[in-house]
């Protein structure tokens, strides 16, 4: 799968640990940013959480691995895991090809909707990356 072009869509919220959230009412879809997948290289493993598990903001809910590296995936928001993207479990490289689309990782039901206010918008995340 060919790698995606660098991008940080405006409709997403971002966490400094290079994770994104697409919030829709009391649910959110989570994934890792273009920067995160580019730093890791081609993903070869996603260790997902269990459906029904609680995830906490700023805490790890899974791991992604490339050939050379392992990285915790940090949740930008708290909630309950409604769904794991099985396509990424079976074909982790999906994340490299489409980190904000087919390469999403989990869908959660938010337990603290106000947490979203603490996340970065795309402009602030880009500015944060520029400082790295």
């Amino acid at each position: 799968m060919s790698a995606a072009e660098q991008s940080y869509p405006d409709d997403l919220k971002y966490h400094r640990e290079h994770d994104w959230a697409r919030i829709d009412g009391d649910e959110a879809v989570l994934g890792i940013t273009w920067y995160a997948q580019d730093s890791l290289g081609e993903l070869v493993h996603f260790e997902p959480p269990e459906q029904g598990q609680q995830v906490q903001r700023d805490a790890s809910y899974g791991e992604v691995e490339s050939v050379k590296a392992v990285s915790d995936v940090i949740s930008p928001l708290s909630g309950e895991v409604l769904e794991v993207n099985r396509k990424v479990v079976d074909e982790p490289e999906t994340v490299n090809g489409d980190p904000y689309g087919e390469g999403w990782l989990i869908r959660i039901r938010l337990s603290e909707a106000s947490e979203a206010d603490d996340l970065l918008d795309a402009g602030a995340y880009r500015a944060f990356l520029a400082e790295q």
């Binding site: 290289g41 081609e42 070869v44 493993h45 260790e47 050939v67 392992v70």
Partner: protein, 352 residues
């Protein structure tokens, strides 16, 4: 702060967009396009690795061979000018100071190519044991080394098939090179040794012939698939050749450092053995992970780009080391199943 050393090809790596990382005191390319495509290039066609960071130690003199015969595990009587040999530099405990390839340049002149991380310890060990009539010198700065590997590597370089573990002087597109029929990938190929000032041109000519630049990331996954041990991971000063499955490199009929210990271990049988395994569940084993059952430790682990599963090597008790034995590996707190398999883990016949 430690300054990282750079090979003569450093600027070319950067220009190609390589990701540069510190490795054994050197700034080296870990990948260009990506570990997986580079790995596949070597299995399917041809790739080139800059391994100029490796050390070269020369031993010269009428008693050069006598010195090396007493320090290296393999039998140098099997060599002649034009031949090379995989061998071990051993300590008194039979432990492995380094694994290396020794080239007979002339009957009185030998060149050892050692791991970058062991250049100092290997050189010091041999230098301290120098005898009258042998002179040991560190020639690492006098050579650049490119490994060109893959089923089409020789064809792309316009080289004849050649016999493994031989060398000859040659020329590639006008650059004078020593062509060594050696490698670390399990594929057909050669290693081209040249003067540092010619390395850039040699690299350019090799790339022009359609060979894919490959980094240390792919070098590691390639060697692991074919179960070549990596010094510092799978073997070291505290591990012996017999347990590591490298008894074939030890001429136990001759005397060399640690030979009596190795004969003893061979006689009574090693307590543990270095085995290869594949994961039966989704998980990637990594160096240092405990093997819970049978008790042991992972010494190398990664994802196999060819088999698309986690693979590794590790030590387990010798009486539980048979192929087919089930393993349980502690992957960051999760127990995952694996199975011991015959070496090598990947064989070319399995490729599509």
């Amino acid at each position: 702060m430690q300054t990282l050393l750079q090979t003569p090809l450093h600027d070319r790596h950067v220009a190609l967009g390589a990701r540069m990382v510190p490795f054994a005191g050197w700034e080296m390319p870990v990948q260009y396009a990506g570990v997986i495509p580079e790995h596949r290039a070597v299995r399917g066609d041809a790739g080139v690795f800059d391994v100029s960071h490796m050390g070269e130690i020369e031993v010269e003199g009428p008693r050069a061979k006598e010195l090396l015969q007493s320090l290296l595990s393999n039998d140098l009587d099997k060599l002649e000018p034009g031949k090379a040999q995989y061998t071990l530099l051993t300590n008194e405990r039979g432990g492995i100071i380094d694994d290396l390839i020794v080239y007979e340049l002339e009957p009185t002149r030998f060149l050892m190519v050692v791991n970058a991380s062991n250049r100092e310890p290997a050189f010091s060990w041999v230098k301290e044991r120098e005898i009258r009539g042998s002179e040991v010198s560190d020639r690492s700065n006098d050579y650049a080394l490119l490994a060109v590997q893959g089923p089409k590597s020789l064809e792309r370089l316009g080289l004849e098939q050649g016999t493994p573990f031989t060398w000859e002087m040659g020329e590639l597109d006008g650059v004078e090179v020593m062509v060594n029929r050696t490698g670390y990938t399990g594929e057909l190929g050669c290693e081209l040794m040249t003067m540092p000032e010619d390395a850039g041109e040699l690299w350019d000519r090799v790339l022009e012939r359609g060979v894919v630049p490959c980094g240390l990331g792919a070098r590691d996954t390639l060697r692991l698939e074919v179960c070549y041990p990596l010094h510092g991971n799978d073997i070291g000063p505290e591990t012996d050749a017999i347990s590591a499955g490298l008894g074939w490199t030890c001429a136990l009929g001759k005397e060399f450092t640690g030979a009596s210990v190795l004969r003893e271990i061979k006689e009574r049988g090693p307590e543990r053995k270095l085995v290869a395994f594949v994961m039966e569940e989704k998980a990637i084993p990594r160096q240092g992970m405990p093997i819970v059952d049978p008790p042991g430790e992972v010494t190398s682990g990664s994802h196999s780009p060819m088999l698309d599963v986690g693979i590794g090597m590790g030590y387990v008790p010798a009486d539980r080391a048979a192929s087919g034995t089930d393993l349980i590996i502690d992957v960051r707190g999760r127990e995952r199943r694996g199975r011991i398999v015959p070496k090598p883990i990947y064989k070319r016949e399995e490729s599509a």
